[in-house]
């Protein structure tokens, strides 16, 4: 009975190129994470600014791959793409404002 119910559904065979692209993206994400580890233990803590900038850049690249490929945003209509991305400007401002604020609290304390 179960087979009868499902027999009319046509299963399309997998597109090899598509599957390959998914694993490629996964490979890139894994590789960047491995690189982050390498940098965490090879670049000395005295070069804090370099470390932090590299980590942030790599995080943004990883985020772009996850949102663009896995969440498929890259292939959505442009209006949808920008409606999601442009509001993130507020986060950039929030980050700037609160880091400044944190520094000011530090100065008041010490």
């Amino acid at each position: 009975m179960h087979t009868e119910e499902t027999s009319h559904v046509q299963v399309v065979p997998a597109d090899k190129a598509k599957i390959k692209k998914i694993w490629m993206t996964a490979g890139i994400l894994g590789l960047i994470t491995a690189l982050e580890f390498l940098i965490a233990f090879t670049v000395p803590h005295e070069m804090e600014m370099t470390r932090v900038s590299i980590f942030i850049a790599m995080t943004i690249v990883k985020a772009a791959y996850i949102v663009g490929e896995f969440m498929h945003l890259k292939y959505e209509v442009k209006v949808l793409f920008w409606s999601i991305l442009i509001p993130m400007i507020f986060v950039v401002w929030m980050l700037t404002a609160f880091m400044y604020e944190g520094g000011a609290i530090f100065d008041a304390r010490y």
Partner: protein
């Protein structure tokens, strides 16, 4: 000018006047996107709070080798998170959190494969990949439970609570509990949603419906959880 553009001009209507989908996505998918945007603000607020509070505390200034825990300055994360289950007493900085990151990335991959299988109406493949995604999520939660219990019981210096901890200023542990806890709650609800999708797939709900769009919608949520972890990993553990 094409014929369609001409007729739009004549009636004074644009694609935004209704009857069409200008964003070429279903209502449910759009609402998931905008929910995730609002959730991104919440997580950003938590991570920015971490940055601000860390900036307002003294930083450790000596060498990494000579580092000791003190309430006077913010700890170096790799000195706090260096334990791995079954390898008691060994110093393996960030190894366990690295394993957790790989688990979550892998479960994101199996989720994409489930969505891809859904597009092809391949019920068996959707079941298989959804199951792997659920297993990945549960493994991650198990790892986090271990990490929390290790963090709370500590390494002999008194451990950690919301008001005090052996690793650094009291805010350090409070932020750890808040940020990884809020993320872990998202993972937990993601696992529950994934299980519902898996159940509906197995019982043939989506096959009868004729499409697997629900897998896509919950997939978006699951990838978002992975995305947040990428940021938590960088800002809490690496920097």
């Amino acid at each position: 000018m094409s014929a369609t553009a001409h007729s739009i001009e004549n009636t004074g209507k644009s694609i935004w006047d209704g009857g069409q989908s200008p964003l070429k996505a279903s209502y449910g998918k759009l609402m998931m996107w905008f929910f995730l945007l609002s959730d991104a603000f919440t997580f950003s607020a938590l991570l920015v709070t971490y940055g601000m509070i860390r900036f307002s505390h003294q930083a450790y200034s000596g060498t990494v080798e000579a580092f000791t825990f003190s309430q006077e300055y913010w700890p170096i994360p790799e000195k706090v998170f260096e334990a791995v289950p079954f390898l008691h007493g060994m110093s393996l900085p960030l190894v366990f959190v690295g394993i957790m990151t790989f688990i979550l990335i892998m479960s994101s991959v199996t989720m994409v494969l489930a969505v891809e299988a859904g597009h092809r109406m391949d019920k068996k493949a959707v079941e298989k990949w959804m199951l792997w995604t659920i297993i990945g999520g549960l493994t991650f939660l198990g790892c986090q439970a271990w990490e929390w219990s290790h963090f709370i019981s500590g390494t002999g210096g008194g451990g950690a609570s919301l008001s005090w901890n052996e690793y650094g200023p009291s805010d350090f542990a409070a932020l750890f509990f808040f940020i990884t806890g809020f993320h872990g709650t998202h993972v937990l609800s993601g696992v529950v949603l994934n299980f519902l999708i898996y159940y509906n797939t197995v019982t043939g709900v989506y096959e009868r419906r004729g499409h697997y769009e629900m897998v896509e919608k919950v997939g978006l949520y699951w990838h978002f959880v992975d995305l947040v972890w990428v940021f938590v990993f960088t800002f809490f553990y690496l920097v």
